[in-house]
Symmetry: C2
Subunit: 153 residues, 2 copies
């Protein structure tokens, strides 16, 4: 296996065990990296991952077969789809159902946990979509300034 995810069950001392909503307005951000060996950063990486994001977004709408996902995501290699789905399954975000029929049929669907990611992911994507022009402009401005400074040297 290629993933270096240590199987150590260390779920480390959690600061905030409850529903998570109780954290004050200025919970310690440095926790992220302090806890680095811990789950948080790692989970964040998985969830914010390129393919995971896309897979979840698609599964958000309905149950899908392997090949359907493959076609929908399109840019993805079959290898990465497999890996991504396995990770999501392991994290309890996606449920994998195998139908023991002759042409194998495997279906994927979001679990309840996975479904709770809905609003968050949606929010992230919405932000990106609605600000892409601003970002594009910022970039060309930046690039323009750069090449100008270069020629001024």
């Amino acid at each position: 296996m290629e993933e270096g995810t240590s199987k150590s069950p260390s779920h480390c001392a959690d600061t905030d065990t409850g529903t998570g909503t109780g954290a004050g307005p200025d919970y310690d951000i440095s926790q992220w990296d302090v806890r680095e060996g811990c789950e948080v950063r790692q989970i964040l990486d998985r969830v914010a991952d390129k393919w995971s994001l896309l897979a979840i977004a698609h599964l958000e709408r309905r149950t899908l077969r392997f090949s359907e996902l493959r076609r929908l995501i399109e840019g993805i290699s079959q290898r990465m789809l497999t890996v991504t789905l396995r990770q999501l399954e392991r994290d309890g975000l996606v449920r994998r159902t195998v139908y023991p029929v002759v042409p194998p049929r495997v279906e994927y669907e979001l679990t309840e946990l996975g479904a709770t990611l809905h609003t968050t992911i949606r929010s992230l994507v919405d932000w990106t979509e609605s600000h892409q022009q601003e970002i594009a402009k910022a970039r060309s401005d930046y690039d323009a300034r750069q090449s100008q400074e270069v020629s001024a040297s």
Copy 2:
């Protein structure tokens, strides 16, 4: 430079130019990868990036100097901090101010655009924090099932 970001100003035909909130409940997700050459996926990757997320989260609270950020994020190398900040600056999310004093002083702060990411990022982190136990459990369950099936073979 190592980044392969083509400077092509192609901001591609945007489906939804407006505020972005107008998209229906089932806007086309496949847009993400169809537009792959376009900004969306790319921006998403940047914003959802490990270090970007941390840097933004810290800058969310107050203006910081380079070395302060370096210490706060801690896991980060000086190289990656530089690269990350440059990208964020280019994208118009972070403003960089250089004070031409003898020991150089450079300060970073979120722009208005960067500040709008606040709720979104917060939401993502909150989700991760509040569900880490569930995920940890799902993982150990999964791993347990795995090693069992292996021994059953």
